[in-house]
């Protein structure tokens, strides 16, 4: 769906674009927000430090203050021991954070030295104070670190946390105020229980994200809740660890220098990054440290992001919907145009296009479509008109073609058995009408065949009109003119007149004498015919009385020598004649240049050589076969190519003079050389004949017997060296079947052989004449004659007995 819809694609890409932009913007926003929140956290951490520092320092300050005040007072007043202890107790009770206070006085007189310590009772009511005498041997005051520290430093300091064994018996840190009264070393101390401090720290840790630490001057860590860190030496954390981070070293330095600051690092306790903020604790040498984890930050950020994401999704969904609606609405006209195009494609050009309301691209497109529709319709109308016009012209041409056909001889085949002549013609114009022509006329009484073949210059309608003129003129002239050269001369003179267009026609005219085979040819620029001379296998050689003819034993094809002369219609000319003689069984083949100049797909012309080749191979005597096969060969050669010129073929076959005088008709002829062995051929021919014409089989034996007897007689008695074979002509009609035996030997009448001696011959008698008797008895009629140097013996039998 997405692939096929423009609207959908627009929406998709816009959406993708929007999502990308939103994503970039939101990422930026996220980062910005994170930074902001982070900064807030840092500030919070610092604030916490400062807040907790304030509180803690208040406490420590008050303790210090208390102690200093007490010491100042003592210096001023120089109370007695009892008085001093009382003052201590009062001070202790006034400060809830103090665990215990002690006073130590060093007298030169040992027994004047004393140390008194008061501390709160655990669990008991706060008012009750416990007294511990520090000046005992078991306590070993002098050995105590805190004492040594006070002695050494000679100024007020805090101790590190320690466990006060024997006195307070808790973990504590003590503020020491050493001074002198009358040269006597005096020390006032106040104890702060570490647990108290811890409770303080713990109480300041209000959230889970926060850890507060106090660091003593010597680096001990005191923590409210972090057991792992409790009383660790700051300086020793990770001192053996190579990977002690940089910030840690910096931290140590900062602390030593009593600086305030903060940094971000990974906090093992929180297992998260924390902001670490530190500040010195008031005037003391303590430091406060707050570790604030980023957990809250992360949580806040996440919830913020989720909200933003949801907003974005909703926004995008709405956006898609809006874009989709808008796009669809805008693209609606395109759908209309698409539908219109489909209708056009199916040929329905009348489809009504939507109105182009807008003036934007789609409106312009719609207008263009309208124009296209109008133009197409107009174009189709034009085409229709032109087609009608062309059809009219073509139908005129077809009518003209029919007229042209009628100008040619009625039959394109001629077969006259009496005169022994066959003629076949073929004419095909290149276009509907053409300029080729042929004409023939058979005068039966005179035994003359006249023929003409011609080719008007060019082709098509112009040639056709001239062709009509030529043919009409030929018919008129041929009525009175026999000689072909005269025909051409007269025709030429006529065509020269009224020939402004200078049309011309090549023509070949011929006259064939069907009694003796004499042929007269005359040519006006037209190719001469091919002459097919027959093979001579039998003894039907005719006598030639012209030295031009050649007697061959094999079939030959020659092109008769060209007789030159101009085409008709140009200028007056006296045409000449060429004499030729046709042999019996010869054929003549004439054509127009539509044959030899026909080209195939690669523009190769058919050529005279190919014509010659084909005629060489042609075996039959049938002119229609000659033409049909020639056309096949031409068709194969030309293939799919268009015919370039009008094509005309004309073939003539002359059976020969031998049967002319006697007007012999026969259906089958067989010739033998004169050997008895050939009788088998004769018998086969006879049987074939009976089969072919469906004559009774019973005739077979009779006919064979007759044939054998006649031929044997002829061969034995009538034969000589002039004979050149015997021919048997077979013919039949409704009643009779006729066998005619023909030979050219000396005259010999078998019937004169004499009556045979019938019955069994007695001793001494010859056995001749029997055959003739058989012939006479087996047949119904026989007749002998000798004409034109031929013996002709005809035997006839009734077909049905």
């Amino acid at each position: 769906m997405v692939k096929n819809s423009l609207a959908a694609r627009v929406v998709l890409w816009v959406t993708l674009g929007v999502i990308s932009i939103f994503t970039v913007v939101n990422s930026y926003d996220y980062l910005l927000t994170k930074e902001l929140l982070d900064e807030q956290l840092r500030q919070l951490a610092e604030f916490e430090v400062s807040a907790s520092e304030t509180r803690a320092s208040d406490i420590l300050d008050s303790l210090e203050h208390q102690t200093n005040l007490t010491a100042a007072l003592i210096r001023e007043v120089s109370p007695s021991q009892t008085r001093l202890e009382l003052m201590l107790k009062m001070a202790l009770q006034q400060n809830e954070y103090a665990y215990g206070m002690a006073v130590v006085v060093e007298h030169e007189f040992k027994n004047e030295s004393y140390g008194s310590y008061f501390h709160r009772e655990k669990g008991a009511k706060g008012r009750q104070l416990k007294f511990v005498d520090l000046n005992t041997a078991s306590y070993a005051l002098q050995a105590k670190e805190w004492y040594k520290q006070a002695r050494q430093l000679d100024r007020p300091t805090w101790t590190e946390p320690y466990y006060d064994e024997g006195a307070g018996n808790i973990l504590m840190t003590t503020y020491l105020v050493p001074f002198e009264i009358d040269g006597r070393f005096t020390l006032i101390t106040v104890d702060l229980a570490v647990s108290t401090f811890q409770k303080l720290l713990a109480s300041m840790e209000d959230k889970q994200d926060m850890s507060i630490y106090a660091i003593t001057p010597n680096g001990h860590i005191i923590s409210g809740n972090d057991e792992a860190m409790m009383l660790q030496q700051l300086y020793e954390i990770g001192v053996n660890d190579r990977k002690r981070p940089e910030w840690f070293r910096k931290l140590l330095i900062e602390i030593k220098e009593k600086k305030t600051g903060s940094f971000l690092t990974f906090c093992p306790r929180m297992k998260e990054n924390c902001w670490i903020s530190y500040a010195p604790l008031g005037d003391t040498q303590w430091t406060m440290l707050v570790a604030y984890s980023q957990t809250s930050l992360t949580t806040q950020l996440n919830s913020y992001s989720v909200h933003r994401l949801m907003q974005m999704s909703i926004g995008i969904a709405l956006l898609i919907w809006v874009i989709w609606s808008v796009t669809r609405r805008q693209f609606l006209p395109l759908k209309e145009l698409d539908k219109a195009t489909q209708e056009f494609a199916q040929g329905k050009l009348d489809y009504v296009l939507p109105l182009a309301v807008r003036s934007d691209e789609i409106g312009s497109l719609t207008q263009s479509f309208s124009m296209m529709q109008v133009n197409l319709q107009a174009h189709i109308e034009d085409l229709k008109r032109e087609t009608q016009h062309r059809e009219r012209i073509e139908s005129d041409l077809r009518a003209a073609s029919q007229i042209q056909q009628s100008l040619l001889p009625n039959d394109h085949e001629l077969h006259n058995v009496d005169l022994g002549v066959q003629l076949s013609a073929y004419l095909k114009p290149a276009r509907t009408v053409g300029g080729d022509l042929y004409y023939y006329n058979l005068q039966e009484d005179e035994g003359r065949l006249r023929f003409v073949i011609g080719d008007v210059s060019d082709k098509g309608v112009t040639a056709a009109i001239f062709m009509a003129r030529v043919v009409t003129a030929i018919r008129a002239i041929a009525e009175t003119t026999v000689k072909p050269e005269a025909l051409l001369t007269l025709l030429n003179n006529q065509l020269i007149e009224h020939n402004d267009a200078c049309m011309f026609v090549t023509l070949l005219a011929g006259t064939l004498n069907l009694r003796n085979g004499e042929l007269e040819l005359s040519s006006a620029g037209h190719p001469m015919p091919f002459y097919l001379s027959p093979a001579k296998t039998c003894s039907d050689a005719s006598v030639f009385h012209s030295d031009k003819a050649v007697v061959n034993n094999e079939k030959t094809v020659v092109k008769i020598d060209q007789l030159n002369g101009p085409a008709l219609g140009l200028y007056p000319y006296e045409f000449e004649c060429l004499d030729w003689v046709m042999e019996s069984g010869a054929s003549l083949f004439t054509y127009t240049d539509g044959l030899d100049e026909a080209v195939n797909a690669i523009n190769e012309p058919f050529g005279e050589q190919r014509i010659q080749q084909y005629l060489d191979q042609f075996e039959s005597t049938s002119t229609s076969e000659l033409i049909t096969n020639m056309l096949k060969v031409l068709d194969q050669f030309v293939g799919d190519a268009e015919p370039a010129d009008d094509l005309t073929l004309l073939a003539i076959h002359w059976r020969g003079r031998e049967k002319i005088y006697e007007k012999d008709v026969y259906k089958k002829k067989i010739t033998i050389e004169g050997r008895k062995e050939e009788l088998e051929c004769v018998n086969l021919a006879l049987d074939d004949y009976l089969r072919e014409f469906q004559l009774p089989d019973s005739l077979s034996m009779t006919l064979q017997l007759i044939a054998e007897e006649v031929m044997v007689n002829v061969i034995n008695y009538g034969y000589d060296e002039n004979a050149q074979g015997v021919s048997l002509l077979i013919d039949h009609d409704e009643k009779l079947i006729n066998l005619t035996f023909v030979d050219r030997a000396r005259a010999f009448n078998p019937l004169e052989l004499g009556e045979p001696r019938l019955g069994l011959p007695v001793e001494g008698e010859s056995v001749g004449g029997l055959g003739i008797h058989l012939i006479k008895e087996m047949s119904d009629f026989c007749r002998y004659e000798f004409t034109s140097g031929e013996n002709r013996f005809t035997v006839s039998c009734y077909i049905t007995t």
């Binding site: 008895k676 069994l760 029997l770």
Partner: protein, 125 residues
Amino acid sequence: MALTIDVVNRSSNCIKVYLIGRLDTNTSPNLEEILDGALTKNIRILSLDMSKLDYISSAGLRVLFKASKTLKAQSGELAMMHLQPQIQKVLDIVKALPALTIFKDDAEMDDYLDVMQKKVIDGED
């Protein structure tokens, strides 16, 4: 078509010949030659079985007549049997039939033979 000639010596003085095919100007010299050889002086009967002879022309007839003459000269006879109709017709035309001995079948010939033998035995002709 050819001619097949089967010669069977039935006895010392009787020959039977089967003629199969055509007896025409081409094939008759063949028969003539065989008969010349077969018809020795002692042969009295030449019996021709013509059941498979389809054709006979004058050349063939001459050979038969010649054989007949030869046999007659040695007191013999030419006999034929099982003539096909067209052969019969030909022989009829040349009016040779009455002069020929035609047997219907072998049995008849045998009988005739017996008679002839008797004749010979009885009275030498």
